[in-house]
């Protein structure tokens, strides 16, 4: 029972990271029908910026804030300079461009920061909390991760639901034609979506790096899990991305915990297995609605 509780809490904590990545992918997908393969690389690069600020200022929170801001800027620049010129062209072009962007970002990170593993500080203690003498398998930092992702998700949800800017983003995502004909500057809305996605990715980067170390490829597997979470939940569903992330985090935690010494090696296989099952049974994701297709 104690083990189950530990694996559950640990799974939820990592699941929050996957949810943040999934949410960033969903934001971009809804706006541009494009999967940003560079999302993990962008998160990695902003985490390097964060660590430089932390070392320069001695303040974790300064680095945290700068990372989020850098993520928003990087998302904006990527959309304006790299992605927008590719829109309206064959879809494969944009896919290849994002893969190229990933390679570029990881290469630049290697050049500027080197390839060695670097530790990244945690905002709070990573020592496991206890209930009496029972270890809970979760630390203050894990609670911070959960709170940060939940708060960000809630803010986004409220913003989308109750603000004019959010309404513009939803309108542009659901029907760009009607949105444009109503006076909504869809291109600008898409840029904002990329900025938000960059911010979310940066958040995921600073939250996961204390556990994984930081190196140019450190976010690749996190991106794969985040992408899997987005597909599980449905690429069109922000709520689905969050739930998908949590479910995946739990599944991987249980697999890693209960499968013994082989567990951690099998987690990519478990993620792949879940992805295959979801794609076979519900290809549009758990939270997908019925789509009407015009013929």
């Amino acid at each position: 029972m104690v083990e189950f509780l530990q694996f559950t809490l640990s799974g939820l904590s990592f699941g929050m990271i996957y949810a943040a990545i999934a949410l960033s992918l969903v934001l971009i997908w809804r706006g541009t029908r494009l999967l940003n393969f560079a999302q993990g690389g962008m998160a990695m690069f902003t985490t390097y910026i964060a660590i430089e600020v932390i070392h320069g200022t001695g303040s974790y929170w300064a680095g945290f804030a700068v990372a989020l801001a850098a993520g928003a800027v990087l998302g904006t620049v990527a959309e304006l300079a790299v992605i927008r010129p590719a829109l309206g062209k064959p879809e494969l072009n944009a896919v290849i461009i994002t893969i190229g962007l990933l390679i570029l970002i990881e290469g630049l990170a290697g050049i500027f920061y080197g390839g060695q593993y670097r530790s990244f500080p945690a905002a709070f203690s990573v020592i496991g909390l206890r209930a009496g003498s029972t270890p809970l398998g979760v630390s203050r930092f894990d609670l911070f991760v959960a709170a940060a992702v939940l708060a960000t998700t809630l803010l986004l949800a409220l913003g989308f639901r109750y603000t004019s800017a959010g309404l513009r983003m939803r309108a542009a995502a659901f029907n760009a034609t009607v949105a444009r004909l109503s006076g909504i500057r869809v291109a600008r809305v898409v840029t904002v979506g990329w900025a938000l996605a960059g911010l979310l990715g940066a958040l995921a980067g600073v939250l996961v790096s204390p556990s994984t170390f930081l190196y140019p490829n450190s976010m690749d597997s996190i991106f794969v899990f985040g992408f899997t979470a987005a597909v599980i939940g449905g690429l069109d569903s922000p709520a689905g991305g969050v739930v998908g992330g949590l479910l995946l985090g739990l599944a991987l935690s249980y697999a890693g915990g209960y499968l013994g010494s082989q567990g951690s090696d099998l987690t990519p296989l478990v993620a792949l297995g879940i992805l295959v099952v979801v794609l076979m049974l519900r290809p549009d994701g758990i939270f997908s609605g019925t789509r009407v297709r015009r013929v």
Binding site: S164, L167, R168, R170, A171, F174, N175, T177, V178, A179, R180, L181, S182, G183, I184, R185, V186, V292, R294
Partner: protein, 243 residues
């Protein structure tokens, strides 16, 4: 005599190598209804798309209240006062009724105007379309075809455009609902002073409510006159309009 709110001069537009509009000229007077008629492939929808900016003209001019708006983007055309409801794409099904109405305000100057103005516009729309008031929090996807068209027209009312381009607003509707929609279109023109350009396969119904008609064939204007004159031209009707 009304002044012309919308003037389209020698408009040329197309898709790739296909020329869909070949020097089309139409005028639409203030607070009038102009019906654009013709067979499938005549260029009616392309005409509306070119006016609203969805298709970039290759030649000619589009004047709105005398100002040249040729080649502007759809967003800029909407903000200039041209609202376009494409065929079958009037509402955003994933948004609620009220959200769809609020979308109509996105073209107002000053990013949607003041809160009091927005509230007043919504109140006017709900007063005129009581059935929408009852369903303001429901998704537009739950509305029937006729209710969706009512929502489209209500949003047009909220948007306060100078010109409203309607592409087949009665498509797929039951005759009774079709009549209601057409009545609403007439009220938008007469009571709200909106200049309306109406594309309709139902030529008889369109000419019954229009002030003026334009008949297109293979991208060219073959007839342009007041609606009564076109309706009385039996040969024209039989040859181009199918009745």
């Amino acid at each position: 005599m009304s002044s012309d709110t919308l003037v389209v001069e020698d408009l040329v537009a197309g898709y790739g190598e296909v020329v869909a509009l070949d020097k089309v000229t139409i005028t639409a007077g203030t607070a009038t209804i102009t019906a654009v008629l013709g067979a499938n492939g005549a260029g009616k929808t392309t005409l509306l798309r070119a006016i609203s900016g969805m298709v970039r003209p290759r030649g000619g001019r589009i004047l709105l209240d005398g100002a040249d708006r040729t080649g502007r983007s759809p967003e800029n055309m909407a903000r200039a006062g041209i609202a376009h409801v494409p065929e079958g794409q009037g509402v955003i099904a994933e948004l609620t009724v009220e959200e769809n109405l609020r979308i109509g305000m996105m073209s107002w100057p000053g990013i949607g105007g003041r809160r009091a103005d927005r509230a007043a516009a919504l109140a006017e729309a709900y007063e005129r379309f009581g059935s929408l008031a009852d369903r303001r929090r429901k998704l537009a996807a739950t509305l029937s075809g006729g209710e969706r068209q009512m929502l489209v027209i209500a949003r047009a009312l909220v948007a306060r455009p100078r010109v409203l381009l309607l592409d087949e607003p009665s498509l797929g509707l039951a005759p009774r609902i079709m009549t209601q929609v057409m009545d609403m279109v007439v009220r938008l023109s007469r009571e709200n002073g909106i200049t309306i350009v109406l594309v309709e396969q139902n030529a008889r119904g369109a000419l019954a409510i229009a002030d003026r008609g334009v008949v297109l064939n293979l991208g060219r204007v073959v007839a342009s006159a007041d609606a009564a004159t076109l309706a009385a031209d039996v040969a024209l009707r039989h040859h181009y309009l199918g009745f």
